[in-house]
Symmetry: C2
Subunit: 305 residues, 2 copies
DNA sequence: TTCATGCATCAGTCCTCTTGATCCATAGAG
DNA sequence: CTCTATGGATCAAGAGGACTGATGCATGAA
């Protein structure tokens, strides 16, 4: 209780309202307090300052000289505080901070965010990328795009898209072996990061669970972009998310030899703290995904994509 | 508790300190709170604003963008509030508001206040006169000079001077009857306000309780100055406080024919609310009276004057 | 006179605020 | 790499402050 005694801010706030209305009762109405409470607070302030602030005359009150001198500056002070809070909230509402993996950011968000910004010209977007799973309490972010199962305690998550993958390579490389027609053809080429579990999953799905793959332990975290670059350069076959490389396919830099795609159970999700669900910018972003992605919020098992 | 919920001012104050120190613990020390209390208040504010203000990282905290935007303006707001209170108190301490009867103000205070102001150049004096007994809760005043018995509930009173009186008249008028040598000589002249009870008291004290005086009921409240003016103009004999007319005596405009003075039990007192006893300006004023008036604070029965 | 208005006072209640203990994560020292 | 110090979060408990409703008082208006 010490704080309120050192400097009775609430009493000062009540005083400010009373000074404006020149009425305890009216000030109480403005503040949602009873006249009794107002009287109490004013008295408290007067005792703290050791100055009489109001002259209580029957049926009306007047400011003393001290009170009259105090009131305008107090009003100014509270105005600044109020506007500070308002502006802060306004600005905060007007900036959307997105954390995403580098891959998703560069291959999907970067390409579609323009639509969001056209639809929401008042919202500024800040896009941050990081491979690590961010902690909303330690990092400044309104939302994040994460890969996982969609289960994170305390966070609300919406399904964004499946995280499927399939081998991709440059058409020139395919030509060196007369084209890729069978999954096993791939083994004639250099496999980029053959230790990636996705390879085993894919070959298994293709009916070749025993395909001879080196089982190096290297994790592919964060390297999909590098692998893609290597594949485009013709250094080998990479296992990639085809969605993300449609441009490269269209430009003839990559081909997807098989329709077969695989999944490992983890997908892309939009996540944010449960409590912020209702902010305008979040609603706007959800609406944007809804409009742009047919699969949005439909769960990993319902959508086709 | 409603006020603090609508807009948690104390939490804002805590936030301000934390933002300056970038430390919950240090802010707590500044405010005289524990780290726990600071943590609680910050959390409260964040929940109210629905904005994270600090990023809690191990062994240090950072302001979020929202927090960084909020902090400087909040500091400014509190600075203004603090300076408002300080200035108000400074000004209030620097102004002494005296309420006095018109008579005492014009005949004693006006003549001696110069000394007080020389001794206390930092204190501005505002002198208000009124016949009515003022109510400190309804009128703005630091102290008052009152006539009475010295007993007022809730007020501290110091004896200032006896309220004695004696007949006074113009020397020219005295000459018209060959000088005033015996109290009964006065009856040869016009008595100004013969209904004034002071006349009866004085004649009784002079050994003539049966002096023939008209017993008009008119009260002399506030009219001493008028009576004096009439006496100076030679219109008759007035019963006055000799102290207040020493100048007129010195200038030959009035004479006090008899040394005998009377009292009616009421005297001049300095009064002020008990609670304000220790303010600097009140101490200064008491010291001034002490220095200037031998009778000050000695009680009506001890002093000679 | 009687009524209406507006503040002060009082006693009681609710719940905010604060504390102290404890836990946890990390940076830095050795 | 282990150990220690630092700094914040969490928890339960308790004190005391803020608020309410009823009542009283003084005054201006009808």
């Amino acid at each position: 209780m010490k704080l309120s005694r050192q400097f009775p801010l609430n009493a000062l706030r009540v005083f400010e309202a009373v000074a404006r209305h020149l009425s305890f009762t009216k000030a109480g109405e403005e503040l949602g307090l009873t006249q009794t409470a107002v009287s109490y607070q004013v008295k408290l302030l007067e005792e703290t300052l050791k100055e009489t602030l109001f002259l209580r005359q029957p049926r009306k009150i007047l400011l003393t000289e001290a009170g009259a001198r105090l009131a305008p500056k107090v009003t100014e002070g509270f105005d600044i505080l109020a506007s500070a809070v308002n502006e802060m909230q306004g600005v905060a509402e007007g900036t959307l901070i997105i954390h995403s993996t580098h891959t998703f950011a560069s291959h999907w968000l970067a390409r579609h965010l323009g639509i969001f910004q056209l639809d929401n010209p008042t919202i500024a977007v800040r896009l941050e990328t990081s491979q690590a799973v961010i902690d909303f309490s330690k990092t400044e972010a309104d939302l994040a795009i994460r890969v996982g199962t969609g289960e994170w305690p305390g966070l609300k998550s919406h399904f964004v898209m499946r995280n499927h993958f399939t081998p991709m390579l440059s058409p020139k490389l395919a030509d060196t072996i007369g084209g890729v027609h069978d999954p096993l053809d791939l083994l004639k080429l250099k496999i980029i990061d053959p230790g990636d579990p996705w390879w085993r999953l894919w070959f298994t799905a293709a009916g070749h669970p025993d395909a001879p793959l080196e089982s190096a332990s290297r994790n592919r975290l964060g390297s999909q972009a590098v692998e893609a670059a290597a594949a485009i350069a013709g250094h080998g076959v990479a296992i990639l998310r085809p969605d993300f490389y449609q441009d490269d396919v269209a430009m003839g830099r990559l081909i997807q030899p098989f329709d077969l795609t695989c999944e490992d159970g983890s997908h892309y999700w939009l996540v944010y703290p449960e409590a912020r669900r209702q902010t305008a910018k979040l609603r706007a972003f959800r609406a944007f995904l809804q409009k742009t992605l047919p699969s949005f919020d439909k769960g990993p098992d319902s959508g086709i994509m």
